[in-house]
Protein backbone atom coordinates (compact mmCIF):
# COMPACT_ATOMS: atom_id res chain seq x y z
CA UNK A 1 0.00 0.00 0.00
CA UNK A 2 1.46 3.38 -0.92
CA UNK A 3 1.25 6.37 1.42
CA UNK A 4 3.00 9.66 0.80
CA UNK A 5 3.38 11.80 3.89
CA UNK A 6 2.87 15.45 3.03
CA UNK A 7 4.85 18.01 5.05
CA UNK A 8 2.97 19.39 8.07
CA UNK A 9 0.76 16.34 8.28
CA UNK A 10 1.17 14.26 11.41
CA UNK A 11 2.09 10.63 10.62
CA UNK A 12 -0.40 7.77 10.93
CA UNK A 13 1.93 5.92 13.28
CA UNK A 14 4.48 7.05 15.79
CA UNK A 15 8.18 6.76 14.87
CA UNK A 16 10.46 3.81 15.67
CA UNK A 17 7.91 1.02 15.75
CA UNK A 18 8.77 -2.45 14.52
CA UNK A 19 6.55 -5.40 13.90
CA UNK A 20 7.62 -6.73 17.28
CA UNK A 21 6.96 -3.64 19.33
CA UNK A 22 3.60 -3.01 17.65
CA UNK A 23 2.61 -6.57 18.43
CA UNK A 24 3.72 -6.29 22.06
CA UNK A 25 2.12 -2.91 22.68
CA UNK A 26 -1.29 -3.83 21.37
CA UNK A 27 -1.48 -7.38 22.64
CA UNK A 28 -0.34 -6.46 26.13
CA UNK A 29 -3.53 -4.42 26.50
CA UNK A 30 -5.34 -7.74 26.37
CA UNK A 31 -2.81 -9.98 28.06
CA UNK A 32 -1.73 -7.90 31.06
CA UNK A 33 -3.73 -7.48 34.28
CA UNK A 34 -7.08 -5.70 34.13
CA UNK A 35 -6.81 -2.00 35.11
CA UNK A 36 -9.05 -0.81 37.95
CA UNK A 37 -10.86 1.84 35.87
CA UNK A 38 -12.10 -0.99 33.66
CA UNK A 39 -14.00 -2.56 36.52
CA UNK A 40 -15.53 0.78 37.42
CA UNK A 41 -16.61 1.53 33.89
CA UNK A 42 -17.91 -1.95 33.25
CA UNK A 43 -19.79 -1.95 36.54
CA UNK A 44 -21.52 1.32 35.76
CA UNK A 45 -22.60 0.16 32.33
CA UNK A 46 -23.88 -3.07 33.86
CA UNK A 47 -26.17 -1.02 36.10
CA UNK A 48 -27.62 0.62 33.01
CA UNK A 49 -28.09 -2.83 31.47
CA UNK A 50 -30.15 -3.78 34.51
CA UNK A 51 -32.22 -0.64 33.99
CA UNK A 52 -32.79 -1.83 30.42
CA UNK A 53 -34.01 -5.23 31.58
CA UNK A 54 -36.29 -3.61 34.13
CA UNK A 55 -37.84 -1.32 31.53
CA UNK A 56 -38.32 -4.22 29.13
CA UNK A 57 -39.87 -6.45 31.77
CA UNK A 58 -42.39 -3.74 32.63
CA UNK A 59 -43.04 -3.15 28.95
CA UNK A 60 -43.84 -6.82 28.36
CA UNK A 61 -46.18 -7.03 31.34
CA UNK A 62 -48.17 -3.86 30.60
CA UNK A 63 -47.86 -3.24 26.86
CA UNK A 64 -46.53 -0.45 24.69
CA UNK A 65 -49.09 1.82 26.32
CA UNK A 66 -46.47 2.64 28.94
CA UNK A 67 -44.67 4.58 26.22
CA UNK A 68 -45.85 7.90 24.84
CA UNK A 69 -47.01 6.55 21.50
CA UNK A 70 -50.59 7.18 20.42
CA UNK A 71 -52.72 7.72 17.35
CA UNK A 72 -51.63 9.63 15.22
CA UNK A 73 -48.04 9.30 16.47
CA UNK A 74 -47.61 5.52 16.38
CA UNK A 75 -43.83 5.65 16.53
CA UNK A 76 -41.74 7.79 18.82
CA UNK A 77 -38.58 7.16 20.78
CA UNK A 78 -38.59 3.49 19.86
CA UNK A 79 -38.04 3.88 16.11
CA UNK A 80 -35.96 7.02 16.64
CA UNK A 81 -33.54 5.01 18.72
CA UNK A 82 -33.60 2.17 16.19
CA UNK A 83 -32.59 4.42 13.33
CA UNK A 84 -30.03 6.23 15.48
CA UNK A 85 -28.26 3.06 16.54
CA UNK A 86 -28.30 1.57 13.05
CA UNK A 87 -26.85 4.82 11.75
CA UNK A 88 -24.01 4.74 14.24
CA UNK A 89 -23.10 1.29 13.06
CA UNK A 90 -22.35 2.53 9.59
CA UNK A 91 -19.03 4.22 10.32
CA UNK A 92 -17.49 0.90 11.30
CA UNK A 93 -18.38 -0.77 8.05
CA UNK A 94 -17.42 2.28 6.09
CA UNK A 95 -13.99 2.53 7.69
CA UNK A 96 -13.20 -1.15 7.40
CA UNK A 97 -14.70 -1.68 3.95
CA UNK A 98 -14.68 1.45 1.85
CA UNK A 99 -11.45 2.90 3.21
CA UNK A 100 -9.88 -0.50 2.65
CA UNK A 101 -10.90 -0.47 -0.98
CA UNK A 102 -9.70 3.12 -1.23
CA UNK A 103 -6.38 1.94 0.22
CA UNK A 104 -6.39 4.38 3.12
CA UNK A 105 -3.81 2.85 5.47
CA UNK A 106 -4.72 5.23 8.29
CA UNK A 107 -7.89 3.18 8.74
CA UNK A 108 -5.84 0.24 9.97
CA UNK A 109 -5.60 1.48 13.51
CA UNK A 110 -9.27 2.32 13.93
CA UNK A 111 -11.15 -0.22 11.86
CA UNK A 112 -11.12 -2.96 14.50
CA UNK A 113 -12.99 -1.15 17.24
CA UNK A 114 -15.04 0.70 14.68
CA UNK A 115 -16.28 -2.67 13.48
CA UNK A 116 -16.91 -3.75 17.06
CA UNK A 117 -18.87 -0.56 17.53
CA UNK A 118 -20.89 -1.46 14.45
CA UNK A 119 -21.76 -4.87 15.85
CA UNK A 120 -22.78 -3.56 19.24
CA UNK A 121 -24.74 -0.66 17.76
CA UNK A 122 -26.63 -3.06 15.53
CA UNK A 123 -27.26 -5.28 18.54
CA UNK A 124 -28.80 -2.33 20.39
CA UNK A 125 -30.74 -1.21 17.33
CA UNK A 126 -32.21 -4.63 16.68
CA UNK A 127 -33.87 -4.73 20.10
CA UNK A 128 -36.27 -1.91 19.15
CA UNK A 129 -38.09 -3.52 16.22
CA UNK A 130 -39.02 -6.28 18.66
CA UNK A 131 -39.70 -4.11 21.71
CA UNK A 132 -41.95 -1.70 19.83
CA UNK A 133 -44.36 -4.47 18.79
CA UNK A 134 -47.74 -4.63 20.44
CA UNK A 135 -47.26 -8.37 20.78
CA UNK A 136 -43.48 -8.85 20.90
CA UNK A 137 -43.83 -12.55 21.66
CA UNK A 138 -44.86 -13.20 18.07
CA UNK A 139 -42.04 -11.22 16.47
CA UNK A 140 -40.96 -14.35 14.58
CA UNK A 141 -44.01 -13.96 12.36
CA UNK A 142 -41.93 -11.43 10.45
CA UNK A 143 -39.63 -14.18 9.29
CA UNK A 144 -40.48 -16.69 6.59
CA UNK A 145 -40.65 -20.13 8.16
CA UNK A 146 -42.92 -23.05 7.33
CA UNK A 147 -45.87 -22.94 9.76
CA UNK A 148 -49.17 -24.70 10.35
CA UNK A 149 -51.04 -21.49 9.57
CA UNK A 150 -50.01 -21.67 5.96
CA UNK A 151 -49.37 -17.92 6.01
CA UNK A 152 -46.19 -15.91 5.39
CA UNK A 153 -44.64 -12.52 5.83
CA UNK A 154 -45.83 -9.73 3.55
CA UNK A 155 -42.82 -8.96 1.41
CA UNK A 156 -44.09 -5.62 0.18
CA UNK A 157 -43.65 -4.18 3.65
CA UNK A 158 -40.52 -2.15 4.37
CA UNK A 159 -40.50 -3.70 7.82
CA UNK A 160 -39.83 -7.10 6.27
CA UNK A 161 -37.09 -5.49 4.20
CA UNK A 162 -35.70 -4.20 7.49
CA UNK A 163 -35.66 -7.67 8.96
CA UNK A 164 -33.61 -8.93 6.04
CA UNK A 165 -31.41 -5.84 5.80
CA UNK A 166 -30.57 -5.64 9.48
CA UNK A 167 -29.98 -9.35 9.93
CA UNK A 168 -27.79 -9.42 6.82
CA UNK A 169 -25.95 -6.38 8.03
CA UNK A 170 -25.37 -7.96 11.43
CA UNK A 171 -24.18 -11.24 9.92
CA UNK A 172 -21.81 -9.71 7.39
CA UNK A 173 -20.40 -7.28 9.92
CA UNK A 174 -19.82 -10.14 12.35
CA UNK A 175 -18.05 -12.22 9.69
CA UNK A 176 -15.96 -9.28 8.56
CA UNK A 177 -14.97 -8.53 12.11
CA UNK A 178 -14.17 -12.13 12.93
CA UNK A 179 -12.18 -12.73 9.75
CA UNK A 180 -10.16 -9.63 10.57
CA UNK A 181 -9.56 -11.03 14.03
CA UNK A 182 -8.24 -14.46 13.00
CA UNK A 183 -4.56 -13.52 12.51
CA UNK A 184 -4.57 -11.45 15.70
CA UNK A 185 -6.20 -14.30 17.59
CA UNK A 186 -3.33 -16.43 16.35
CA UNK A 187 -0.93 -13.83 17.69
CA UNK A 188 -2.66 -13.87 21.07
CA UNK A 189 -2.68 -17.67 20.98
CA UNK A 190 1.07 -17.66 20.47
CA UNK A 191 1.74 -15.05 23.15
CA UNK A 192 -0.76 -15.89 25.84
CA UNK A 193 0.84 -17.24 29.00
CA UNK A 194 -2.02 -19.07 30.64
CA UNK A 195 -3.17 -22.44 29.35
CA UNK A 196 -6.86 -21.46 29.18
CA UNK A 197 -6.06 -18.29 27.27
CA UNK A 198 -3.96 -20.31 24.83
CA UNK A 199 -6.78 -22.80 24.30
CA UNK A 200 -9.54 -20.22 23.96
CA UNK A 201 -7.62 -18.00 21.57
CA UNK A 202 -6.36 -21.16 19.87
CA UNK A 203 -9.87 -22.41 19.17
CA UNK A 204 -10.92 -18.99 17.89
CA UNK A 205 -7.79 -18.71 15.71
CA UNK A 206 -8.79 -22.03 14.14
CA UNK A 207 -5.17 -22.99 13.62
CA UNK A 208 -4.08 -19.92 11.68
CA UNK A 209 -0.45 -20.27 10.65
CA UNK A 210 0.09 -17.12 8.63
CA UNK A 211 1.20 -19.21 5.70
CA UNK A 212 1.52 -17.53 2.33
CA UNK A 213 -1.36 -19.67 1.04
CA UNK A 214 -3.53 -18.57 3.99
CA UNK A 215 -2.72 -14.94 3.36
CA UNK A 216 -3.33 -15.43 -0.32
CA UNK A 217 -6.96 -16.60 0.07
CA UNK A 218 -7.41 -14.47 3.13
CA UNK A 219 -6.61 -11.23 1.37
CA UNK A 220 -8.87 -12.15 -1.50
CA UNK A 221 -11.78 -13.02 0.82
CA UNK A 222 -11.16 -9.88 2.90
CA UNK A 223 -11.36 -7.67 -0.15
CA UNK A 224 -14.47 -9.51 -1.31
CA UNK A 225 -16.14 -8.94 2.06
CA UNK A 226 -15.08 -5.32 1.91
CA UNK A 227 -16.77 -5.03 -1.47
CA UNK A 228 -19.97 -6.62 -0.20
CA UNK A 229 -19.94 -4.57 2.99
CA UNK A 230 -19.63 -1.45 0.87
CA UNK A 231 -22.92 -2.34 -0.80
CA UNK A 232 -24.37 -2.89 2.64
CA UNK A 233 -23.34 0.49 3.95
CA UNK A 234 -25.24 2.06 1.12
CA UNK A 235 -28.17 -0.35 1.22
CA UNK A 236 -28.97 -0.83 4.88
CA UNK A 237 -29.75 2.74 5.74
CA UNK A 238 -31.48 3.16 2.41
CA UNK A 239 -33.77 0.30 3.37
CA UNK A 240 -34.28 1.83 6.81
CA UNK A 241 -35.17 5.09 5.12
CA UNK A 242 -37.74 3.18 3.03
CA UNK A 243 -39.69 2.70 6.26
CA UNK A 244 -40.47 6.37 5.83
CA UNK A 245 -39.93 7.05 2.15
CA UNK A 246 -42.44 4.37 1.09
CA UNK A 247 -45.09 5.74 3.45
CA UNK A 248 -47.29 8.46 2.02
CA UNK A 249 -47.04 10.94 4.85
CA UNK A 250 -45.85 14.43 4.10
CA UNK A 251 -42.29 14.58 5.42
CA UNK A 252 -41.78 10.87 4.84
CA UNK A 253 -42.74 10.31 1.24
CA UNK A 254 -39.62 11.70 -0.43
CA UNK A 255 -36.94 10.28 -2.72
CA UNK A 256 -34.12 12.18 -1.10
CA UNK A 257 -34.27 9.98 1.98
CA UNK A 258 -31.98 7.08 1.02
CA UNK A 259 -28.88 9.13 0.16
CA UNK A 260 -29.34 11.56 2.98
CA UNK A 261 -30.02 8.82 5.50
CA UNK A 262 -26.80 7.11 4.44
CA UNK A 263 -24.83 10.32 4.72
CA UNK A 264 -26.41 10.98 8.10
CA UNK A 265 -25.53 7.48 9.21
CA UNK A 266 -21.87 7.88 8.32
CA UNK A 267 -21.92 11.31 9.90
CA UNK A 268 -23.21 10.02 13.22
CA UNK A 269 -21.03 6.94 12.92
CA UNK A 270 -17.81 8.90 12.67
CA UNK A 271 -18.96 11.10 15.50
CA UNK A 272 -19.36 7.99 17.63
CA UNK A 273 -15.97 6.64 16.57
CA UNK A 274 -14.41 9.85 17.77
CA UNK A 275 -16.40 9.72 20.99
CA UNK A 276 -14.96 6.27 21.62
CA UNK A 277 -11.45 6.65 20.15
CA UNK A 278 -10.46 9.73 22.07
CA UNK A 279 -10.87 8.26 25.55
CA UNK A 280 -9.66 4.86 24.37
CA UNK A 281 -6.28 6.05 23.09
CA UNK A 282 -5.80 8.04 26.28
CA UNK A 283 -6.71 5.07 28.47
CA UNK A 284 -4.28 2.66 26.79
CA UNK A 285 -1.71 5.23 25.69
CA UNK A 286 -2.23 4.38 22.06
CA UNK A 287 -1.59 7.92 20.85
CA UNK A 288 1.13 6.55 18.60
CA UNK A 289 -1.34 4.35 16.72
CA UNK A 290 -4.42 6.54 16.82
CA UNK A 291 -2.61 9.77 16.04
CA UNK A 292 -3.79 13.32 15.61
CA UNK A 293 -3.85 12.46 11.92
CA UNK A 294 -6.61 9.93 12.45
CA UNK A 295 -8.68 12.36 14.43
CA UNK A 296 -8.23 15.02 11.78
CA UNK A 297 -9.18 12.70 8.93
CA UNK A 298 -12.31 11.64 10.79
CA UNK A 299 -13.09 15.27 11.47
CA UNK A 300 -12.87 15.95 7.75
CA UNK A 301 -15.18 13.06 6.94
CA UNK A 302 -17.63 14.43 9.50
CA UNK A 303 -17.46 17.85 7.92
CA UNK A 304 -18.10 16.39 4.47
CA UNK A 305 -21.01 14.14 5.50
CA UNK A 306 -22.36 16.94 7.69
CA UNK A 307 -22.56 19.15 4.62
CA UNK A 308 -24.33 16.41 2.67
CA UNK A 309 -26.88 16.10 5.46
CA UNK A 310 -27.36 19.85 5.43
CA UNK A 311 -27.97 19.60 1.69
CA UNK A 312 -30.59 16.96 2.46
CA UNK A 313 -32.42 19.34 4.78
CA UNK A 314 -32.40 22.06 2.16
CA UNK A 315 -33.61 19.73 -0.57
CA UNK A 316 -36.48 18.61 1.67
CA UNK A 317 -37.64 22.20 2.02
CA UNK A 318 -37.07 22.94 -1.64
CA UNK A 319 -39.02 19.92 -2.81
CA UNK A 320 -41.89 20.78 -0.49
CA UNK A 321 -42.08 24.18 -2.09
CA UNK A 322 -41.43 22.92 -5.61
CA UNK A 323 -43.99 20.10 -5.42
CA UNK A 324 -46.60 22.71 -4.53
CA UNK A 325 -48.31 19.99 -2.51
CA UNK A 326 -50.29 21.69 0.28
CA UNK A 327 -49.59 18.87 2.72
CA UNK A 328 -45.84 18.93 2.06
CA UNK A 329 -45.75 22.68 2.31
CA UNK A 330 -47.59 22.67 5.59
CA UNK A 331 -45.28 19.97 6.90
CA UNK A 332 -42.26 22.22 6.41
CA UNK A 333 -43.98 25.20 7.99
CA UNK A 334 -45.05 23.03 10.88
CA UNK A 335 -41.55 21.65 11.34
CA UNK A 336 -39.98 25.07 11.44
CA UNK A 337 -42.64 26.86 13.48
CA UNK A 338 -44.89 24.16 14.90
CA UNK A 339 -44.96 22.57 18.36
CA UNK A 340 -41.70 20.78 17.65
CA UNK A 341 -39.82 23.81 16.30
CA UNK A 342 -37.39 23.70 19.23
CA UNK A 343 -36.26 20.18 18.39
CA UNK A 344 -35.91 21.19 14.75
CA UNK A 345 -33.72 24.21 15.41
CA UNK A 346 -31.75 22.27 17.98
CA UNK A 347 -30.94 19.67 15.37
CA UNK A 348 -29.98 22.36 12.86
CA UNK A 349 -27.64 23.83 15.44
CA UNK A 350 -26.10 20.45 16.25
CA UNK A 351 -25.84 19.00 12.75
CA UNK A 352 -25.35 21.99 10.48
CA UNK A 353 -23.87 24.80 12.54
CA UNK A 354 -21.54 22.97 14.91
CA UNK A 355 -19.54 21.01 12.27
CA UNK A 356 -18.66 24.26 10.51
CA UNK A 357 -16.02 24.77 13.19
CA UNK A 358 -14.20 21.86 11.61
CA UNK A 359 -13.10 24.13 8.79
CA UNK A 360 -10.58 25.48 11.29
CA UNK A 361 -7.41 23.42 11.67
CA UNK A 362 -7.18 24.63 15.26
CA UNK A 363 -10.44 22.86 16.05
CA UNK A 364 -9.54 19.78 14.02
CA UNK A 365 -6.30 19.38 15.94
CA UNK A 366 -7.85 19.94 19.37
CA UNK A 367 -8.76 16.60 20.88
CA UNK A 368 -11.08 18.16 23.44
CA UNK A 369 -12.95 20.17 20.82
CA UNK A 370 -13.40 17.13 18.63
CA UNK A 371 -14.69 15.11 21.56
CA UNK A 372 -17.30 17.73 22.41
CA UNK A 373 -18.28 18.18 18.77
CA UNK A 374 -18.67 14.45 18.27
CA UNK A 375 -21.11 14.27 21.16
CA UNK A 376 -23.03 17.30 19.92
CA UNK A 377 -23.39 15.66 16.53
CA UNK A 378 -24.59 12.42 18.08
CA UNK A 379 -27.33 14.36 19.87
CA UNK A 380 -28.14 16.22 16.69
CA UNK A 381 -28.56 13.05 14.69
CA UNK A 382 -30.88 11.61 17.31
CA UNK A 383 -32.98 14.75 17.14
CA UNK A 384 -33.05 14.52 13.34
CA UNK A 385 -34.73 11.14 13.46
CA UNK A 386 -37.08 12.30 16.22
CA UNK A 387 -38.13 15.30 14.16
CA UNK A 388 -38.61 13.27 10.98
CA UNK A 389 -40.80 10.74 12.75
CA UNK A 390 -42.80 12.85 15.17
CA UNK A 391 -43.40 16.05 13.23
CA UNK A 392 -44.47 14.13 10.15
CA UNK A 393 -46.86 11.92 12.09
CA UNK A 394 -48.43 14.37 14.50
CA UNK A 395 -50.00 16.51 11.80
CA UNK A 396 -50.76 14.72 8.58
CA UNK A 397 -53.68 15.02 6.20
CA UNK A 398 -56.86 15.50 8.22
CA UNK A 399 -56.66 18.38 10.71
CA UNK A 400 -59.28 16.55 12.75
CA UNK A 401 -56.81 13.81 13.65
CA UNK A 402 -53.87 15.99 14.51
CA UNK A 403 -52.29 15.26 17.86
CA UNK A 404 -49.19 15.70 19.93
CA UNK A 405 -46.58 13.34 21.32
CA UNK A 406 -44.02 13.20 24.07
CA UNK A 407 -41.99 10.34 25.47
CA UNK A 408 -42.52 8.91 28.93
CA UNK A 409 -40.13 7.86 31.66
CA UNK A 410 -40.18 4.37 30.16
CA UNK A 411 -39.05 5.68 26.77
CA UNK A 412 -36.08 7.31 28.45
CA UNK A 413 -35.27 4.26 30.54
CA UNK A 414 -35.23 1.98 27.53
CA UNK A 415 -32.95 4.28 25.58
CA UNK A 416 -30.49 4.80 28.40
CA UNK A 417 -30.62 1.07 28.94
CA UNK A 418 -29.46 0.35 25.42
CA UNK A 419 -26.64 2.83 25.81
CA UNK A 420 -25.58 0.83 28.85
CA UNK A 421 -25.78 -2.36 26.84
CA UNK A 422 -23.59 -0.80 24.16
CA UNK A 423 -20.95 0.36 26.64
CA UNK A 424 -20.91 -2.96 28.48
CA UNK A 425 -20.21 -4.82 25.25
CA UNK A 426 -17.56 -2.25 24.34
CA UNK A 427 -15.82 -2.73 27.69
CA UNK A 428 -15.78 -6.49 27.26
CA UNK A 429 -14.36 -6.08 23.78
CA UNK A 430 -11.44 -3.84 24.65
CA UNK A 431 -10.60 -6.10 27.52
CA UNK A 432 -10.51 -9.46 25.76
CA UNK A 433 -9.74 -8.69 22.12
CA UNK A 434 -7.16 -6.48 20.46
CA UNK A 435 -8.87 -3.12 20.02
CA UNK A 436 -6.48 -2.33 17.16
CA UNK A 437 -5.80 -4.69 14.30
CA UNK A 438 -2.25 -5.92 14.94
CA UNK A 439 -1.52 -7.53 11.60
CA UNK A 440 -2.85 -4.56 9.67
CA UNK A 441 -0.70 -2.25 11.77
CA UNK A 442 2.31 -4.37 10.79
CA UNK A 443 1.54 -3.76 7.13
CA UNK A 444 1.99 0.00 7.48
CA UNK A 445 5.39 -0.33 9.12
CA UNK A 446 8.46 0.66 7.07
CA UNK A 447 9.76 -2.90 7.01
CA UNK A 448 6.56 -4.13 5.41
CA UNK A 449 6.40 -1.26 2.96
CA UNK A 450 9.94 -1.84 1.83
CA UNK A 451 8.97 -5.29 0.61
CA UNK A 452 5.87 -4.20 -1.20
CA UNK A 453 7.64 -1.30 -2.88
CA UNK A 454 10.94 -2.96 -3.55
CA UNK A 455 9.34 -6.28 -4.40
CA UNK A 456 9.41 -7.73 -7.92
Amino acid sequence: MTERTLPGRPPIIGPGYTSGTVTDKISEVVLKRTPRWWYVGFGLSLILVLLFFYAVAYLFTKGVGIWGVNVPVGWGWDITNFVWWIGIGHAGTLISAILLLLRQPWRNSINRFAEAMTLFAVACASTYPILHLGRPWVFYWLMPYPNSLGIWPQFRSPLVWDVFAVSTYATISLLFWFVGLIPDLATLRDRAAGKTAKVVYGILAMGWRGSARHWHNYESAYVMLAGLATFLVVSVHSVVSFDFASGLLPGWHTTVFPPYFVAGAIYSGFAMVLTLAIPLRAAFGLQDFITARHLQNMAKVMLATGLIVGYGYLIEIFLAWYSNDPYEKYMVVNRVMGPYAFQYWALIACNIVSPQFLWLRRVRSSTAALFVLSIVVNIGMWLERYVIIVTSLHRDFLPSSWGTYSGTIWDYATFIGTIGLFLALMFLFIRFLPAISIFEMRTILPEARSVEEGGP
Partner: protein, 179 residues
Protein backbone atom coordinates in the same frame (compact mmCIF):
# COMPACT_ATOMS: atom_id res chain seq x y z
CA UNK B 1 3.39 -39.86 1.78
CA UNK B 2 6.57 -41.86 1.67
CA UNK B 3 7.86 -43.66 4.73
CA UNK B 4 11.24 -42.87 6.18
CA UNK B 5 11.84 -40.80 9.31
CA UNK B 6 8.74 -38.99 10.67
CA UNK B 7 9.75 -35.60 9.44
CA UNK B 8 7.44 -32.87 8.22
CA UNK B 9 10.07 -30.68 6.73
CA UNK B 10 12.88 -28.26 7.24
CA UNK B 11 12.14 -24.75 8.39
CA UNK B 12 14.37 -21.72 7.90
CA UNK B 13 13.82 -18.57 9.94
CA UNK B 14 14.51 -15.08 8.57
CA UNK B 15 14.68 -11.67 10.19
CA UNK B 16 13.20 -9.53 7.45
CA UNK B 17 10.41 -10.05 4.99
CA UNK B 18 12.72 -9.27 2.09
CA UNK B 19 14.99 -12.19 3.03
CA UNK B 20 12.00 -14.49 3.08
CA UNK B 21 10.74 -13.33 -0.30
CA UNK B 22 14.16 -13.82 -1.86
CA UNK B 23 14.53 -17.21 -0.18
CA UNK B 24 11.16 -18.33 -1.44
CA UNK B 25 12.03 -17.24 -4.94
CA UNK B 26 15.38 -19.05 -4.75
CA UNK B 27 13.84 -22.22 -3.44
CA UNK B 28 11.31 -22.23 -6.22
CA UNK B 29 14.02 -21.61 -8.77
CA UNK B 30 15.85 -24.55 -7.17
CA UNK B 31 12.84 -26.68 -8.11
CA UNK B 32 11.21 -27.04 -4.73
CA UNK B 33 7.44 -27.09 -4.96
CA UNK B 34 5.98 -28.48 -1.70
CA UNK B 35 6.90 -25.64 0.56
CA UNK B 36 5.23 -22.81 2.39
CA UNK B 37 6.27 -19.45 3.74
CA UNK B 38 4.98 -17.99 7.02
CA UNK B 39 4.81 -14.29 7.84
CA UNK B 40 3.06 -12.08 10.44
CA UNK B 41 1.33 -10.08 7.71
CA UNK B 42 0.25 -10.62 4.10
CA UNK B 43 2.82 -9.99 1.36
CA UNK B 44 1.81 -10.03 -2.29
CA UNK B 45 5.46 -10.32 -3.19
CA UNK B 46 5.58 -13.61 -1.34
CA UNK B 47 2.64 -15.07 -3.20
CA UNK B 48 4.31 -14.06 -6.42
CA UNK B 49 7.62 -15.55 -5.28
CA UNK B 50 5.86 -18.80 -4.55
CA UNK B 51 3.89 -18.35 -7.77
CA UNK B 52 0.57 -19.21 -6.10
CA UNK B 53 -2.37 -19.66 -8.47
CA UNK B 54 -5.10 -16.98 -8.37
CA UNK B 55 -7.42 -17.51 -5.39
CA UNK B 56 -10.74 -19.30 -6.01
CA UNK B 57 -12.57 -17.15 -3.44
CA UNK B 58 -13.93 -14.62 -5.97
CA UNK B 59 -15.56 -17.38 -8.00
CA UNK B 60 -17.19 -18.80 -4.86
CA UNK B 61 -18.51 -15.37 -4.01
CA UNK B 62 -20.06 -15.08 -7.46
CA UNK B 63 -21.75 -18.46 -7.04
CA UNK B 64 -22.99 -17.59 -3.56
CA UNK B 65 -24.36 -14.25 -4.67
CA UNK B 66 -26.21 -15.78 -7.60
CA UNK B 67 -27.74 -18.52 -5.47
CA UNK B 68 -28.78 -15.97 -2.87
CA UNK B 69 -30.47 -13.75 -5.43
CA UNK B 70 -32.37 -16.63 -7.00
CA UNK B 71 -33.42 -18.07 -3.65
CA UNK B 72 -34.51 -14.63 -2.44
CA UNK B 73 -36.74 -13.97 -5.42
CA UNK B 74 -38.03 -17.52 -5.59
CA UNK B 75 -39.12 -17.35 -1.94
CA UNK B 76 -40.98 -14.08 -2.39
CA UNK B 77 -42.58 -15.09 -5.65
CA UNK B 78 -43.73 -18.42 -4.26
CA UNK B 79 -45.11 -16.88 -1.08
CA UNK B 80 -46.98 -14.00 -2.71
CA UNK B 81 -48.14 -15.63 -5.93
CA UNK B 82 -48.41 -19.36 -5.30
CA UNK B 83 -48.60 -20.19 -1.59
CA UNK B 84 -51.16 -17.60 -0.44
CA UNK B 85 -51.94 -14.87 -2.97
CA UNK B 86 -53.51 -11.89 -1.21
CA UNK B 87 -54.74 -8.56 -2.52
CA UNK B 88 -52.49 -6.18 -0.64
CA UNK B 89 -53.23 -2.52 -1.20
CA UNK B 90 -54.45 -3.29 -4.70
CA UNK B 91 -50.99 -4.38 -5.81
CA UNK B 92 -50.55 -7.40 -8.08
CA UNK B 93 -49.51 -10.66 -6.48
CA UNK B 94 -46.15 -10.49 -8.20
CA UNK B 95 -45.22 -6.91 -7.38
CA UNK B 96 -41.59 -7.54 -8.20
CA UNK B 97 -40.28 -4.02 -7.62
CA UNK B 98 -41.22 -4.42 -3.98
CA UNK B 99 -39.25 -7.66 -3.86
CA UNK B 100 -35.95 -6.12 -4.93
CA UNK B 101 -34.62 -5.10 -1.49
CA UNK B 102 -34.97 -8.60 -0.09
CA UNK B 103 -33.39 -10.12 -3.20
CA UNK B 104 -30.50 -7.72 -2.75
CA UNK B 105 -30.01 -8.58 0.90
CA UNK B 106 -30.12 -12.32 0.20
CA UNK B 107 -27.49 -11.81 -2.49
CA UNK B 108 -25.13 -10.05 -0.13
CA UNK B 109 -25.75 -12.50 2.68
CA UNK B 110 -25.02 -15.64 0.68
CA UNK B 111 -22.07 -14.05 -1.09
CA UNK B 112 -20.57 -13.07 2.26
CA UNK B 113 -21.10 -16.52 3.75
CA UNK B 114 -19.50 -18.15 0.71
CA UNK B 115 -16.53 -15.78 0.91
CA UNK B 116 -15.76 -16.59 4.52
CA UNK B 117 -16.56 -20.30 4.52
CA UNK B 118 -14.83 -20.62 1.14
CA UNK B 119 -11.71 -18.94 2.47
CA UNK B 120 -11.65 -21.24 5.48
CA UNK B 121 -12.23 -24.30 3.35
CA UNK B 122 -9.54 -23.37 0.84
CA UNK B 123 -7.12 -22.79 3.73
CA UNK B 124 -8.16 -26.08 5.28
CA UNK B 125 -9.22 -24.29 8.42
CA UNK B 126 -10.06 -24.96 11.14
CA UNK B 127 -6.90 -26.90 11.78
CA UNK B 128 -5.82 -26.32 15.38
CA UNK B 129 -3.13 -28.97 15.06
CA UNK B 130 -0.46 -28.63 12.43
CA UNK B 131 3.08 -30.04 12.29
CA UNK B 132 4.66 -26.62 11.73
CA UNK B 133 3.64 -25.72 15.24
CA UNK B 134 6.24 -28.23 16.30
CA UNK B 135 8.91 -25.84 15.07
CA UNK B 136 10.45 -24.43 18.27
CA UNK B 137 10.41 -20.74 17.41
CA UNK B 138 7.34 -20.82 15.18
CA UNK B 139 5.33 -18.75 17.66
CA UNK B 140 7.27 -15.77 16.36
CA UNK B 141 5.66 -16.23 12.97
CA UNK B 142 2.75 -14.26 14.38
CA UNK B 143 5.06 -11.54 15.67
CA UNK B 144 8.09 -10.47 13.71
CA UNK B 145 9.87 -13.52 12.27
CA UNK B 146 9.59 -14.96 8.76
CA UNK B 147 9.75 -18.67 8.04
CA UNK B 148 10.21 -20.82 4.98
CA UNK B 149 9.37 -24.51 5.32
CA UNK B 150 10.27 -27.05 2.66
CA UNK B 151 8.19 -30.14 3.27
CA UNK B 152 9.47 -33.67 3.30
CA UNK B 153 6.81 -34.60 0.79
CA UNK B 154 8.57 -32.65 -1.88
CA UNK B 155 10.04 -34.84 -4.61
CA UNK B 156 13.31 -32.95 -4.51
CA UNK B 157 13.47 -33.09 -0.70
CA UNK B 158 16.61 -34.52 0.80
CA UNK B 159 17.41 -34.09 4.45
CA UNK B 160 21.03 -33.03 3.91
CA UNK B 161 20.87 -31.37 0.54
CA UNK B 162 17.82 -29.33 1.40
CA UNK B 163 19.35 -28.27 4.75
CA UNK B 164 22.45 -27.19 2.95
CA UNK B 165 20.38 -25.30 0.42
CA UNK B 166 18.44 -23.53 3.13
CA UNK B 167 21.53 -22.59 5.12
CA UNK B 168 22.86 -21.19 1.89
CA UNK B 169 20.02 -18.65 2.09
CA UNK B 170 21.59 -17.20 5.26
CA UNK B 171 18.68 -17.69 7.61
CA UNK B 172 19.07 -16.96 11.31
CA UNK B 173 18.38 -20.64 11.90
CA UNK B 174 17.28 -23.85 10.23
CA UNK B 175 15.21 -26.34 12.23
CA UNK B 176 13.74 -29.74 11.59
CA UNK B 177 9.98 -29.94 11.94
CA UNK B 178 8.68 -33.22 13.30
CA UNK B 179 5.61 -34.57 11.55
Amino acid sequence: MRGGPRLWGLMAEFRTPQELVDAAARARAEGYRRMDAYSPFPMEALSEALDLPASKVPRLVLVGGTLGALAGFALQYWVSVIAYPLDVGGKPYNSWPAFIPVVFECTILCAGLFAVLGMLALNGLPMPYHPVFNAPRFALASRDRYFLCIEARDRKFDRQATRRFLEGLRPSEVAEVAA
